[in-house]
Symmetry: D2
Subunit: 293 residues, 4 copies
């Protein structure tokens, strides 16, 4: 069992940390929100005053933060881990950020003698609670091997996407594709309904045909087709429009930098941003179908 420091206990981080406790790892935690800290302390974690003190005697440090600037601050800041840690734990950043920042932090970590993985997740809050997340990892083979046991306590699919930043790149590609699947499935269903088809029947047909995709399998955007999907529960998330808009922004910036054409992905970003601006940011991302009604 490992000594793990967990920094950032939001909607995703808290259930991930809880699964580490369940697996028998010892856990030191840090978050600015005392409420989430208290709950995890009740479950067996030790709380720390700072990210640094949480990390000080850990074998593995895991960070789960909202955006690149927070990651930069925790690792590269004047009081940051790379500057101040005397030990050399494995560093795993599971935040979803741009791959450039991921590469920059990892390069500085290596310069200071740390091993580091970028390891963003896929699967959402439900998978975080169930311990069935997918981890898309970027870093060396040895760092990936070293991280496997702990990551395996939080997820069931562990992918080694490539070198530093590759985890973030893979996640951006996947989530861009997800937005395309969701938008495309939404408009195919709506086009059918506008022309007299029953959305359940059309969903079944496409699920058994070449239109099959993840959203038709488990996340149908048409209300009433799938009882447990957000679409049948007023589009309560699930995975929020705000988060999808952020991820599509990361993919778009990546495409601009690499000079890649992403016609469908850009289209999806513009649909999601327009949807978000009309006050739908905290709805589930399958609510994009409402833009077509």
């Amino acid at each position: 069992m490992a000594r793990v420091a967990f920094i950032g206990l939001g909607n995703m981080g808290a259930p991930m940390a809880r699964n580490l406790l369940k697996a028998g790892h010892s856990l030191k935690i840090f978050d600015l929100n005392p409420a989430v800290v208290d709950k995890l302390v009740s479950a067996g974690a030790d709380s720390s005053e700072t990210a640094l003190s949480a990390a000080q005697q850990a074998d593995i440090v895991i960070t789960m933060l909202p955006a690149g600037k927070h990651v930069e601050s925790v690792y590269l800041g004047e009081e940051g881990l790379l500057q101040r840690l005397s030990s050399r734990p494995l560093l795993i950043d599971s935040s979803t950020i741009d791959s450039e920042t991921a590469k920059k932090v990892a390069a500085e970590a290596e310069r200071k003698g740390f091993s580091m993985l970028d390891a963003p997740v896929s699967g959402g809050v439900a998978a975080a609670a169930a311990g069935t997340l997918s981890f898309m990892c970027g870093g060396s083979d040895s760092a990936f091997s070293q991280g496997k046991e702990v990551l395996g306590a939080m997820g069931k699919n562990l992918f080694h996407a490539g070198d530093h930043g590759a985890g973030q790149t893979a996640k951006a590609c996947n989530n861009m594709l997800l937005a395309i699947l969701m938008s495309g499935t939404s408009e195919a269903l709506q086009l059918g309904v506008d022309n007299g088809l029953d959305p359940k029947v059309l969903s079944e047909i496409m699920l058994a045909s070449s239109g099959r995709n993840w959203t038709l399998e488990v996340y149908n955007p048409y209300p009433g087709v799938m009882e447990k999907a957000p679409a049948s529960n007023d589009y309560q998330p699930g995975f929020m429009v705000d988060l999808m808009a952020k991820d599509l922004g990361l993919a778009e910036e990546m495409a601009v930098k690499s000079g890649s054409a992403i016609p469908m992905g850009s289209n999806a970003r513009n649909l999601y941003v327009a949807h978000q601006k009309k006050g739908n940011g905290s709805k589930d991302f399958s609510s994009i179908i409402q833009e077509l009604k």
Copy 2:
């Protein structure tokens, strides 16, 4: 066993007819191309001089024609089946055409006392040969029941999409979604590759994540990822760009008529038409990724 008339023995029609023979049905055939007729006669079919004579004593008539105008001609022409047939076989049109023409022909058929199904297929030449097509049927419950045995000899998934035209509508929706999946998957893979990922690794990751879709499962557009996919065989079809462009045109016209917004589908149509115009019409439709390289 039924007496079946089969009219239109192209790349799809010929193997479909062959499966009817295998299943023990008696078959009268008509096509303007003597070569394809001869082959089926060797396999046990009877050839006829005209569509009308092929249909005259059939229990079921199946048509498999290139476009709406051919369907109109065979059924509605002055020498057409509706005008001239003295018997009242079940009429099944498996051509992929616009749902308006399908409705118009079916309405006229009903007026003359025929039962009719529009029953376009999904699955391509390979599925036609293997007898594993999907049929998307529009028409009455009783017509659908009546057609099942014969359709089941040619396909494994028989869907009753709704009333007349609903089969065509469902197919247009599905194929539009397929074009979106293929374009989106292509650009997600290319974006990853442009940013240093291995297309095989990224394909695996997305296949196990929320980007999962039919193209990643069986039809990966990146050369070398899937040995048997057209992408690994110089984009030999498979399903041609010309046909996908046609199907996207049908979906687009349907959307204009119903006043539906199909932002991703329109985008896909424009990508495919531009690709087609550069001389790629007879390549497999997964070659759309070449527009992004």
Copy 3:
């Protein structure tokens, strides 16, 4: 001076007819709405019971109707002009319809010995009232020459676009481009405002630079920039979203038939249709900027 029959006295037709009276032409009119007929009778027109009787002794017949089906009915119907007229006046259809229908009607007219022009207009209600419309005409040189005097009483720009249908084709191209200009200008202005620019200043800069276009010149979509523009008057039309959506549908159908790629035009159609579906159909078309806020 000519004897003119004018059929269809809606928002556009009525002021056009009024300008014919002002120019000294004698005018017989027909419309199903007695209110608009009465007003024109007060202004000096003669009313007729039917389209046919209005046209019977005319030198020139002008039709201004909502859609292709009305044009077909007036000209091709059993009681239609081509069937029943004993004289052979010049026929001018100023409705905005698809070029296929325009060609079909004109071909039938020629077969019956009529000269015909398709002559859709550009400029909207204000230009109709001011007599400053543009006419885009399709037909023979001689028909165009013959129509010039009467068209010149209603408009200031008379274009001979080509043979039958060419007027409709030119209008569809122009209005598709207009929708692109309006959408593009809207998003450029909103992008500037979102990044701290004053919309007036940015409008001035782009008007003097390579972004210059008709919408910046006379129809700025940002509220407050141009006092008399619909944008500064709650988006009261002007040119309605419903009409722009219709015109974009005509362009899209034309593109599908000719196998043309229109990526920007399709994008504009989908924006306008989505905008329309949210209840904005009777707003001015510059309200598309509201989709971006």
Copy 4:
């Protein structure tokens, strides 16, 4: 007359510097390329060994550099102007870069006691030579007033877009709109031609109608319509596809940061990037019409 330092003498910088000499200003220049330096020395400029020495005794420093990283290096580097200059000339950066970098450099300049303008240009090489550029300036009123005389020697339209970065923002908005105009005009012309219209006639019609825009006025993309346009000269630039793709990337990154929806602009970026990737980067940007043929 002012003492001006000019740093960066590429295709745009060299003719701009030449116009300063013509207007009677004294000029110190710096560029890494000795050929362009020599030509300007022949015309009356003084050459310097470094950017710093060129700027040392100037009243006004003008920089015209390829990208944000060069601007950062010249101003913020360890040997950069802000660090090393003992005098406090007005700083004018006419490079086209992202507004964030422009703001960052200007903020540091102000902290060190400099006045600074970001002043990107519009108009291309021809306007640079003719002294008819447009300058879009960001900075204080007083800096704008102070720069006017010198800018007026190089351009005829001087705009004060707002505070620091506003010049770059305005240029990004304008050039995004330009790309939309060019793409949209291209597809409207091609759609007309595909449906039988003469591109000259259609150009005239749209120029006199609501489709009017800068590209139809002076830069028609259809070969043969406008004798002096790049389209009639094998798409020799003019303004290169590479540069338009760069500018669209700047607009896109700006939109991602401000959370703005730019559906038409993103579409244009993807068209230009795909066009560029096929080896058309050094063609004129009006060659985008070739993607539609």
